[in-house]
């Protein structure tokens, strides 16, 4: 039947061209649309990236290395890494727990729980910082008690850890929840009915299935934890060599007109951001390769 309709089209180039055009745009329209889209992305994505890398390496590798290998920069890098080492594992356990509870069980209030997990993402980082200043600051709720017990949270490392944990809480959970919901629970049920323990099932059945989503979630959480700025700016107090994380150190350098050094430290975080998006593309590519078999809907 389709051939009957198509016969006149096939025989007639002019008609065929018009048929093609009906669900496609003419070449010149396509060219304009692609050019405008790429122009927009070049302006907003490529140029900022280029200016960071140019600024960092403009004066050569030695200057770059001197800026990175300088006591205050090293202290900032060390603090940022320490924070990440604490925050990422906690958020990893949280993400896996939340995804397990949400994906494998039915309970009331599930949409509410998912919204709650999303919420730190919607709150301004500055408000996150403020919340903890009001809780733990010298004039906050617990300030006098902390002072009496000689403990510091605000303008110290614990405050930085807490605000970053808050700000990066959703990333691993958001990655895992849809993934585990999509995979269902049949495989786990099979493993458990065959006598494997719960941990063993998680380790040998669930984990291999969510491996790549998990890795991307961890890397994204890591990049966001290293880059968190607004919340840390409120609670850190910017004590040089003590409570400056990498982004705060970049701010200090920039405000002191040490642009090359600022871009040099920025280049480290930029490299990490690039790794993050490469891993994301790779995970999506894996996902697409596995998808076609189940792509029936």
């Amino acid at each position: 039947m389709t051939t009957d309709i198509l016969t006149p089209v096939v025989g007639n180039p002019a008609l065929a061209a018009r048929w093609h055009r009906a669900t496609d745009e003419p070449a010149w329209v396509r060219l304009i649309l692609i050019s405008v889209a790429l122009g927009f992305l070049a302006l907003f994505l490529v140029l900022p990236l280029a200016v960071v890398l140019y600024g960092a390496f403009e004066q050569g590798l030695q200057v770059w290395w001197a800026a990175v290998n300088e006591p205050d920069a090293l202290a900032a890098i060390r603090l940022s890494l320490l924070v990440v080492l604490i925050v990422v594992p906690i958020n990893l356990v949280f993400g896996v727990s939340a995804a397990w509870a949400i994906a494998k069980f039915e309970f009331r209030g599930k949409p509410l729980l998912i919204s709650l997990i999303d919420m730190p993402f919607a709150i301004s980082p500055v408000v996150v910082g403020l919340i903890f200043v009001i809780l733990f600051g010298s004039q906050g709720w617990l300030g006098p008690w902390l002072a009496a017990h000689d403990m510091r949270i605000i303008f110290a490392v614990p405050g930085i850890v807490i605000v970053i944990a808050f700000g990066t809480m959703p990333f691993i959970a958001r990655e895992l929840i849809p993934l585990m919901q999509q995979q269902g629970k049949e495989e786990e049920e099979a493993s458990l009915t065959l006598g494997a323990s719960g941990w063993k099932t998680f380790w040998y059945v669930t984990l291999p299935n969510i491996k790549w989503g998990l890795i991307y979630g961890v890397i994204l959480c890591n990049a966001r934890a290293l880059g968190e700025f607004g919340a840390v700016a409120v609670v850190s107090g910017r004590i040089r060599g003590e409570t400056n994380t990498m982004p705060l150190h970049i701010e200090v350098l920039y405000n002191e007109y040490m642009f090359t050094a600022a871009f040099a430290v920025s280049s480290l975080l930029t490299g990490l951001a690039l790794v993050t998006i490469v891993v994301k593309s790779f995970v999506e590519w894996l996902d697409e390769r596995h998808r076609p078999a189940s792509n029936t809907h």
């Binding site: 009906a22 496609d24 649309l33 405008v36 889209a37 790429l38 927009f40 992305l41 907003f44 994505l45 900022p48 990236l49 200016v51 960071v52 906690i90 356990v93 949280f94 727990s97 939340a98 397990w100 509870a101 494998k104 069980f105 729980l113 709650l116 919607a122 709150i123 301004s124 980082p125 500055v126 408000v127 403020l130 919340i131 009001i134 600051g137 906050g140 709720w141 809480m169 049920e189 719960g198 990049a223 966001r224 880059g227 968190e228 607004g230 700016a233 990498m246 705060l248 701010e251 920039y254 642009f259 600022a262 920025s266 930029t270 990490l272 951001a273 993050t276 998006i277 994301k280 593309s281």
Partner: protein, 276 residues
């Protein structure tokens, strides 16, 4: 038949995982947020109102919300165009471009901030040409819009892309075979199908922009009444130990964020229902 007899709850760990999830959420999120709201609620209404309606604060709302709306609108237009081009057309480097869209999401905001101000300063790569036309971007409200556009860029693209990919070709073919021009098909068939996703992306970009701090403070110049965004006011009040003022404005921002999240959830629910 055999499977029907299986015990109802084979999978263990509900208590453990749910317990930890709620405990963590409670301690790191619910109690602290409750603390802020309680702190604000203990202020007298007069103090609260004075703090949130001071002309300098109102000027900052106008800038924060106005520039966020402008940025989200730019992203709505160009973001849907980018999504369309990435889904429908094939060109060299498409995969790389696609991956790069996530950059503003992964790049630290402070790095974005100093990159943007360096680009748009009067001596910068872009700024030096704009000064020829007497356009000042850095240290002006346009700079704020640029930063907020940058930060919201991934959202419209990433919400529209999957919907566009799932759109059945049959609908467009039907429209075309019924005699509609390509323009009419796009306007009357494709655009309505994309509407919920477009609105969701718009709201997400807007919500992200309203609270943004790091990428804006470098390029805005932070002049009171002119280029001072609301998050910056919160920071400076907290730095001056004016916790009450900061908490009052912070509560306004928090309520705005909750309302936006509610709106976004509604929009996503609408998108999913449309998808069925």
């Amino acid at each position: 038949m055999f499977l029907a007899a299986k015990p109802k709850k084979v999978i263990p760990g509900f208590g453990l995982t749910m317990g930890f999830t709620l405990l963590y959420l409670g301690f790191i999120f619910l109690i602290p947020v409750g603390g802020l709201l309680l702190y604000t609620s203990l202020m007298s209404w007069d103090d609260f109102w004075k703090a949130v309606s001071h002309p300098q604060v109102v000027a900052s709302y106008r800038l924060s919300f106005g520039a966020s709306l402008t940025g989200a609108t730019i992203n709505l237009i160009f973001g849907s165009l980018v999504a369309w081009v990435l889904v429908r057309y094939r060109f060299p480097g498409r995969k790389i471009v696609d991956a790069l869209v996530d950059l503003p999401f992964a790049l630290p905001t402070a790095v974005a901030g100093i990159a943007l101000v360096t680009l748009y300063a009067s001596t910068g790569w872009v700024g030096q040409y704009l000064t020829l036309f007497d356009i000042k971007v850095a240290y002006s409200q346009i700079g704020v819009v640029i930063a907020l556009t940058y930060i919201g860029l991934p959202f419209v693209v990433r919400t529209v892309q999957p919907v566009l990919e799932d759109l059945e070709a049959e609908r467009e073919e039907a429209s075309a075979s019924l005699g509609a021009s390509r323009f009419t098909t796009v306007r009357r068939v494709i655009l309505p199908a994309l509407l919920p996703a477009l609105l969701t992306g718009y709201a997400l970009a807007f919500a992200r922009a309203v609270g943004e701090y790091g990428s804006v403070v470098f390029i805005s110049g932070n002049m009171p009444y002119r280029t001072e965004i609301t998050p910056l006011l919160i920071v400076s009040k907290a730095e001056q130990y004016d916790y009450q003022g900061a908490a009052a404005i912070g509560t306004v921002m928090l309520v705005a964020a909750f309302l936006l999240l509610l709106l976004i959830n509604g929009l996503q629910w609408w998108t999913q229902r449309r998808g069925l």
